[in-house]
Symmetry: D2
Subunit: 497 residues, 4 copies
């Protein structure tokens, strides 16, 4: 009978049925060096980066001798609300991590930052990105007698550092990272030094900031804003930043390559108030909307964003097209953006629980819905239905990204090709499946124009756009290794009480 | 040292520092008669009405013989997520309540719906509003030997029903309500009948809906939308709606008076996608913005809403003024709108935790900030500072309500006059205190125009606007009774484990 | 498959499968007047009285103006471990209650002490015993408009006090108690006075103590011991003790009758280290064992108690018979004595979880098992099996109470006659069912001898022994009223989050 | 004010103030091979072994392919009560562990069984005992690049197995154990084989049992009893038992030495209903009491055990001396035996909370108190005081172990010599400090006689009695290594949410 209980599947903070139809961000990292309240600032920074990972959060601080750790499942605000916890996290150095699991299961053992007692002393480590040869390396290391305590790719780096033949921590880190492939923005900490590193392609973001003599590392500039810190610069692709009492030192240990920053960070992942690689995210999104309006204009009465992520592009679309912008769909903010639900049924419910049509602005109107992306298409379909039921005479959908046709292996959780709508269907089919009068995506060149380029340079693209183009410019070692399946990672199924 | 822990004061769901500077909504109610999943629908409805009360939530269902109750502190999604709870709430009838305490403390004993075994059988009861003679009545009842199990004004109604000399439940309800003064939208339930009642002035909303043969009562139409139910009509001021197997019957037991619906429901309380008294809330808010733009135009480069409640008025202001609308302030949605914080310090932190300036759209600009109201002014001041620090050259504030100069006694939690900024300062002083270049409020007539009137008719105003005008058209019996203080309500300080 | 999980039914502290085959104690009460740490002493006292009720515990303190309450399900040590809780329970007066539910369900609303704001001010109240006309009185009161917030018989007293026409609290209490029938040892508290009352027959115990100027009331003397307080005297049957700043005053408001103290308190309920009505409980139990040995001697090699309650009688039996006493059954103390389990299957498991045969002392032996009582007989049967499997050649069971043939209506939770082994079977049948070589119970006269009487005086017995004799000397009003069933008490099924 | 809250220091299940004055047991282990309900049986076994470790409990099961783990702080009954947990622990093999931390802190990361994915597949491992060169080995392993995820000595074994050059699991285990020193009874499990091993001296117990075709390993025979399993034999000192589908195979990989079973297991640790090394524990304890009565008779009126551990020896003392045995001290069983309290003050409170004098049997009497050991002496002193306050005219204390003068390094948590009463004071001083009229300990030879030897053979003692004699027959490598301090084990201070 009671088949419609909308809350019976998981703790409230652990789900968000319709965001389930979005790609999932991979993680957020933060580091503070030289502030008496380092852990508190780390917690604030993680809170600002909560959109990058809602599954778990952790902080490791260091008082110059001991390390102090607190990690837990759930949101930052839940895990770090107690005075007792914050008092334990003593010391002028701290690193923190928000997790959304792209590799490794959800168990507590996978919650970062990781820590290990190594030959030279303690090392804390946290990572945003995804390594594409982690499983292969792990298997080799296990054969040599290494014991892994997690199923996270990040631990591979830690084990490589532990076994490195170099003596200096910096040399060990570089030695380890030269062995790994993939995307990483990484922060490490010993008792007296903090390290920030981006992979040679700079796929994931990492910025450097400054606050009253303390140095800050963070995934996005919005984490600096919440601390009241000043943005200094982005850590460069392939750069290793070494922070100690003498200040910030830059090392470039890798062979230089053309950087390929993830363009989806602009489209969806990064917070709109962040400035990434020198450019305002919100600004880029508006410009995508403008490009989209130029590319795919349609006679309409109202431009309606799918809240919240479609709003900036919809504003740009409305401004360029001259058609009024209205909040034709209202979002109930009492359910935050979080986790994947197991079944299709609950996804459907999710739309009702979080969105409501604003009938007064839809009835009898030709509506242009603006959204940022279509992954499975399940939510889009429900929203179109809802808008039609509210009386819209036409529904046109405009998407501020190109069709998502390929999965990401560089740190974003996307379904495989079988579940990507645009990988399985052409435009006409998609229009029919979604029930729209017309559907259009921004072109790949339009997208590059919106981020300030002339277009995508075929032989030398300047962004990672593999999810739209299939251009995986890094070896996918694990994927090509038939022995590497996630089942082999660990035989343990654990739940800690 | 660790003076900046932003989460150390209360459970995460129990606070929202900057919304603290908003009036607090009083409660939401919902009732379902005749659906096999009555409790599930009640829970969905309460979820849609979460904005009307985040302190506690409860549902009482009835299977025709027994009543089943589940009540708890915190959000709907937290209290009703377990299958076990939902399975217990059996039966085709259910009433539900979201609570924000305007009367009675936060203890569990005050969480509604209330229930009592009376002479005729069981009665469940829940209430949105505030009675202005509850303390006086309570004192009289205690002298007669009544034992109160809560400090809520709602229990006074229950006790009056219990002691009524009439036999029929309907007569007892009317008998009880003729003794009380104040604002109420009330839902009551026996084993076979549901009652929905609005006070003679219709101060709080209550709508009637229909879903596959079941009848629904709810504070706002958005609760019908989430259930997929159809809006039938608003329950009328002074109307008693009786729902049983024979259908819906209307009774008008009170002397008719000019209705005075709370105009603040339009400005801030109701959800923008609700249709209240036949008018779209979002639509009214946009029109207030348009009126405001006409009344208080100012040369500017950008119209920036204070999110989220200022958005519709800002859109209207931008449309009318022709100045571009931009999200110059970004809200972090990982902290929901909730409770009052005890100290000024944490309020300050709250702004940083929830809002961030979108520097790219503020720097070097003349900014018009649009917000819905100013209560204490503390948050407004912080936001102005933040906008200036982001580089705005001018900051003009436009408020989509008249100055809030008087407290509400009809169901809204507002500070007393000593803490209302507009009650203590004139416009010039407020401009200085808030640090703005100019400040303007919508006029009272402009506000009435936005809701479709010519203006406020002095001798016969059609809305309750006491918070702006001091026109308390109902006797404030408790307030004028010097013996009635909240301290006298109960000598018990309780906490249940 | 996993059909044997021994812990899957309830929180660990909430069960004790084999004690399920014992009668359940009804409650413990404590009161402290005039000590700065009144609540702390109350908590200590409740801990000492934990055996009288493990379902819930509560304390209400009074600081001379306000009352402070904390109540919760579970053990005393769990509910009162937090400093925050203890700090809230301020004031020099406190009353406390351990609950095992004989009337009313297990919901939190039934946890005592109760509190009400009455015409004269606040009143706290807690009760050990059972009223035999509570349902009848409740029904009458509901018809008059009283709202009950619990299903406990204790609330009837509170409602009668609230509605009494007398002005003085003492008069109201007496007025109320003259209307009730049954067993009660009751403690009440206003802002300046504490009251201790035993029913005219003195069925339940209540003692008076003294500690550094403070006055103490408690169910048993062991609660005085834990506080370091001095035993003064037992409150007399039918006595009302009034404690205020002027000291202790005694009132005798009832018509005197022959007292009938519950003889089962000596056999099983009271703690062995308590002195009840001037006699050591442990001493009585040993003497019962001696009487039993004289009445039902049998050739044997070893006397083995069923731990823990059979130990003193077994010591007496061994001393009198000259047969060695040995702990032939070992009890695992990691499961405390607590609640009834729903099914027979888990009861069986319970024996294994809590008792183990000490094979070295049973193998090849003729064993006399000594236990205090047989209710359903389920546990006894399992224990006999276990002893036989350990190699005993003969098993003789000796019980230190007469056959339990009638249920208790005066405050003890016993099954109805259909489930009382001795009510359904004669001795030979019981021997067969339990699988023993012989079975003997102490005679009713032997029992009276053990408590210092010559025997049971037929026309004028001096103890309540209704469970053995069926001599219910009080009217069983509710039981004889066909309209009074527990189902009618309340139509509400509630669970608070 | 509220200085006496007896429950304010820790969760209720985590303390037992007066047992704090006992040595602490080191751990209990259990393993089941070949039963469809393996995990359920493991949980039952751990429950029976709860006395060997109350800090944490864990089970790892194996279904032949995957391993399933559940570990948590607190008692067995708390950690394994949910159906969901038990359903996860699938498979016909399971190992389990009760932990009391002698090495490694209390963090969850130290809760056993441990698990690792090794070159050959998964390995689960749990351990009772203490390694005396673990810190030294750990430091060497870290230098080689090993990352430890705990601070437990058991992980050293796991790391040695991981790095062993042998291929077969059995060879790797033996290779690893040949490198470690100390006491261990260890159970390991791969996907198809279970291993049980005792160190060459057999310091800790380990028994082998049988149940309907399944093979059981457990620390004590009482764990077999609770499962209904049959005791087969003790695993021999230095024996490796290999259990797979072909049955049980015995290997003796170590050089044979004279076994030295821990004699304290008989005195205090083992459960009285266990049969250890062929002898009933309860029986040994009684014989110690008899020896003690012969060695240290004293004219007295009553023999009173300090409950519960002093009971069997007191029974033996009473039987031998002819003086009556009485429960002169009553224990409140609502506080279980658990953890060390931080301060002296709470220890004092503990005595009152758990013991009460049975005045009726002490007043005017010459009392012999029988206890099993004196460690710090704090509890003994309180008990003597309590007995004197209850009116005893003389108090003589008899201890069923020799003076504890040396700490244990083989798996028992004892204070260092500075805190061992008998290491700091002679008998006369102890008598004065404890306030007794006389004090006597069993002689070392008397103790050996009680376990069936003629006496302690000086050159060739057959038990480990280092705590009484200082005869540490194993190298104390870590202790003699000045670089090995517990502080160096890990620089991490962690708490998982």
């Amino acid at each position: 009978m009671l088949t419609t209980n909308p809350f019976d599947l998981a703790p409230a903070h652990l789900r968000d049925e319709d965001d389930d139809d979005k790609p999932k961000e991979e993680c957020g990292v933060v580091g503070i060096f030289g502030d008496p309240d380092a852990a508190s600032h780390a917690v604030l920074g993680l809170h600002a980066l909560q959109h990058r990972g809602q599954e778990a959060a952790g902080v490791v601080s260091c008082d110059g001798f001991s390390f102090h750790s607190h990690r837990g499942l759930g949101h930052v605000s839940e895990n770090f609300k107690s005075e007792e916890v914050m008092n334990r996290l003593a010391g002028p150095m701290a690193i923190g991590h928000n997790r959304y699991s792209t590799s490794g299961d959800k168990a507590l053992r996978n919650v970062q930052p990781f820590y290990a007692d190594l030959a030279f002393g303690g090392l804390g480590l946290c990572h945003n990105g995804n390594l594409t040869n982690a499983v292969t390396l792990r298997r080799q290391l296990v054969q040599k007698g290494c014991i892994f305590s997690s199923t996270s790719d990040t631990e591979v780096v830690l084990q490589l550092v532990a076994r490195s033949d170099y003596l200096a921590v910096e040399d060990r880190l570089v030695d380890a990272l030269r062995k790994v492939e993939g995307a990483y923005s990484l922060i490490a900490m010993t008792t007296n030094t903090m390290y920030g590193i981006r992979d040679p392609y700079g796929i994931r973001p990492l910025v450097l900031g400054h606050l009253d003599g303390a140095h800050i590392l963070a995934s996005e500039s919005c984490a600096l804003d919440i601390m009241g810190a000043e943005y200094v610069r982005d850590v460069e692709p392939g750069e290793l930043v070494v922070i100690d009492r003498d200040g910030v030192r830059s090392v470039k240990p890798f062979v230089p390559v053309q950087s390929r920053f993830c363009i989806f960070e602009y489209i969806y992942f990064a917070r709109p108030d962040s400035v990434v690689e020198g450019t305002s995210v919100y600004h880029v999104r508006k410009r995508i909307g403008e490009e989209l309006a130029r590319e795919s204009a349609v006679p309409a009465d109202v431009i309606v964003p799918v809240p919240d992520s479609g709003v900036p592009a919809a504003l740009g679309f409305a401004a360029e097209s001259g058609v009024p912008f209205e909040f034709g769909i209202i979002r109930n903010h009492y359910v935050g953006r979080t986790f994947i639900q197991p079944t299709q049924r609950t996804r459907d419910l999710g739309v009702k629980r979080k969105h409501n049509a604003n009938r007064a602005f839809l009835e009898g109107k030709r509506v242009v819905l603006v959204d940022d992306s279509i992954v499975r298409g399940t939510t889009s379909k429900k929203i179109v239905q809802m808008v039609r039921q509210a009386g819209a005479t036409e529904v046109h959908m405009r998407i501020s990204s190109p069709p998502t046709t390929h999965p990401c292996f560089f740190g974003i959780d996307t379904p495989d090709r079988d579940n990507l709508l645009a990988a399985q269907h052409n435009l006409a089919e998609m229009e029919k499946l979604l029930g729209v009068d017309s559907l259009a995506f921004i072109s790949i060149d339009g997208l590059y124009r919106a981020v300030g380029q002339v277009g995508r340079e075929l032989g030398n693209p300047t962004f990672c756009d593999a999810c739209f183009t299939g251009d995986y410019f890094l070896p996918l070692t694990d994927r090509n290794d038939t022995e590497c399946t996630s089942q082999q990672l660990s035989l343990l199924r654990e739940k800690l009480a």
